[in-house]
């Protein structure tokens, strides 16, 4: 067995995302199935409007949040597997050299699916715990007849069994694909070659300082991490701002729920991304410290590049939540009275931006202390 449960435990990010996705989707889909059952009982036209609005909301929420989170979880899984293979190249290369086939090695990667299973099960169970409260909330003005909670086995299939199986299969398949390299390439320390950077580009233009150069190459070599940083700030920005609007549009509890999900997602992703960046650059940081680069310069070179990216994510999140709410209010609730007119909430944006900057800088400070502790001794012993 090449990889154990311990490695899979590092995929907690996927578990968290899967949990959030399944929690939200199960609640809304179950609600959707149950509300469909009472369609026949609706008499008044107003109730019908309300019913249609509820059905559309459930669909949109399921698709948007489910789809978004599913994509993120897949990217994260693939990233992890690639990262795992990259950091364990030597062991895997030796196994291959000994004559293990790709498939035989890759088979062990199914344990990566466990993280999905844990996440989805927790999300699924959580959804059923929250459901009575959620149903009451959705029908708090008694616009619709009583909606009873029914158990739909298909949801368990869609949101727990299927994702687990798919993620396990995907892990094995992707690992197999990634292992299809000559043994020597796996055994060799680093695969970077000059051909990737054409010479004329190096010669051109003014020369960058080493720290600036390193900042750029850190960004370039791990593009997935850039995605995660953008995603984290996107989640933070979209979910915090949306949760404030939700308070007015729907209910306070919906707002809080959204806020919590947003924060959990943002922090898990950010935490994972930055930890990976630092772990992946321990040697570089240690060498910079040996040579006399200050802690500040190390931080700027290794972490500095992600700051602008996080603002990009924040901006996308702002636009996204505005667009989504505009669409929801204009299309789904358009015939519905009592929903307040939706306008872009500037003060909320500012508050959430300030909070974001504060939290981001605090995190960076914490990590810069971690960078300070890295010493040459650690990498020499290894």
């Amino acid at each position: 067995m090449v990889i154990g449960i311990k490695n899979a435990s590092k995929l907690i990010g996927i578990s968290v995302i899967a949990c959030c996705a399944v929690l939200v989707c199960t609640m809304f889909l179950n609600f959707y199935f149950d509300i469909r059952l009472i369609e026949g009982k609706i008499t008044s036209e107003l109730s019908m409007f309300f019913y249609n609005a509820q059905v559309s909301t459930a669909k949109v929420v399921c698709l948007v949040s489910g789809g978004c989170l599913l994509l993120t979880a897949i990217v994260m899984l693939l990233f992890y597997i690639k990262h795992y293979i990259d950091t364990h190249k030597k062991e895997l290369g030796i196994l291959k050299a000994l004559g293990y086939s790709n498939l035989k090695i890759a088979k062990d990667f199914w344990v990566f699916g466990i993280s999905t299973f844990i996440g989805t099960v927790i999300g699924y169970a959580g959804a059923f715990l929250l459901m009575p409260w959620f149903y009451t909330l959705q029908n708090k003005d008694k616009m619709l007849p009583e909606i009873t909670i029914n158990y739909h086995p298909s949801i368990l299939l869609y949101f727990v069994i299927l994702p687990t199986v798919c993620f396990s299969v995907l892990s094995v398949y992707y690992a197999c694909y990634k292992l299809k390299k000559p043994v020597l390439l796996l055994l060799k320390d680093n695969l970077q070659t000059a051909s990737k950077t054409p010479k004329h580009r190096i010669e051109k233009g003014r020369e960058l300082s080493f720290v600036e150069d390193l900042r750029r190459s850190t960004l370039k070599t791990k593009k997935t991490l850039v995605f995660f940083i953008i995603f984290a700030s996107f989640c933070f920005s979209a979910m915090t701002q949306m949760s404030f609007s939700m308070k007015d549009l729907s209910s306070e509890m919906m707002g809080v729920m959204m806020l919590v999900i947003g924060l959990v997602l943002a922090f898990t992703t950010l935490f994972l991304a930055i930890t990976t960046v630092i772990n992946g650059n321990t040697k570089t940081i240690a060498m910079m410290r040996v040579f006399g680069y200050s802690q500040k310069e190390c931080c700027r070179a290794i972490l500095g590049g992600y700051r602008p990216m996080s603002y990009v994510g924040f901006a996308i999140g702002t636009v996204y939540q505005y667009g989504l709410l505009r669409l929801t209010v204009d299309i789904i609730f358009k015939d519905f009275e009592g929903i307040p007119a939706y306008e872009f909430d500037f003060p909320v944006m500012i508050i959430s931006l300030v909070a974001f900057i504060a939290i981001y800088e605090i995190l960076m400070y914490v990590y810069s202390e971690k960078i300070k502790k890295i010493s040459i001794k650690e990498i020499m012993i290894e």
């Binding site: 970077q192 070659t193 000059a194 390193l214 040579f291 006399g292």
Partner: protein, 230 residues
């Protein structure tokens, strides 16, 4: 001049506490070529790390021209390393995602040295400036790390088993480059090795044995990298 005074350093706690450096005192003259010789585990690397400002001793002083570096704050110590010392290790520790050029620039930037391409030429890698470490042989990688260390124009160059991972021919070549460059730039060399032959290249030889200095002697004549045995 570097003066080490009563250096003591231990590792571990309680039962497993182990004294690696047992009260070492020693002077190193400027521009000298010093080799620290000793068996594996005798504490050579630890001593090198202490006198170069990478690690702090439990007690004792390390004076550079009378200034005690063990009394410096972390920040001051970093800035001391930036200004005064260069390092070469057995594992080259090059930055894998950066070309030879950029690796050397890592050292050069610290001394505001714009002329770092000369030093790449001086270690015979002018043609391979744009290659990445993974495309170079072990000897070439070590030469890059020599260039990187010297590009920051250190007063003292510390080397920990620089040829430990190299074969005879490339090992000799690397040592030869280091000697030639010392004549040109005039830095002090403090080199750790377990290879008796390499000691013949040094002016001062310090023998270490289980955390203590057992012998210090100077060579009348220094051999070149191609004259010593291997």
């Amino acid at each position: 001049m570097i003066e080490a005074r009563d250096i003591i350093k231990s590792y571990g706690n309680g039962e497993s506490r182990f004294q690696v450096l047992k009260d070492i005192s020693l002077d190193i003259e400027d521009h000298d070529f010093v080799v620290i010789l000793g068996a594996s585990g005798s504490g050579k690397s630890t001593f090198l790390n202490v006198i170069s400002g990478l690690e702090r001793p439990d007690s004792g002083k390390v004076l550079y021209d009378g200034k005690d570096i063990t009394a410096l704050s972390d920040h001051e110590l970093t800035s001391f390393r930036k200004k005064s010392v260069g390092f070469i290790f057995q594992q080259y520790y090059l930055l894998p995602n950066m070309s030879v050029d950029k690796n050397v620039k890592m050292g050069a930037d610290l001394a505001d040295n714009k002329d770092y391409k000369t030093i790449i030429g001086a270690v015979g890698l002018g043609e391979k400036r744009h290659k990445y470490p993974s495309e170079l042989s072990g000897g070439e990688q070590q030469r890059v790390s020599v260039a990187r260390a010297l590009a920051k124009r250190p007063r003292v160059l510390f080397l920990d088993e620089p040829t430990g991972a190299l074969d005879e021919q490339t090992g000799r070549q690397v040592l030869d480059y280091i000697c030639k460059l010392q004549k040109e730039y005039g830095f002090t060399i403090v080199m750790v090795t377990h290879n008796l032959n390499i000691a013949e290249m040094a002016h001062t030889v310090i023998k270490m044995n289980s955390g203590k200095i057992s012998e210090i002697y100077t060579n009348e004549t220094q051999k070149t990298a191609y004259e010593i045995g291997w």
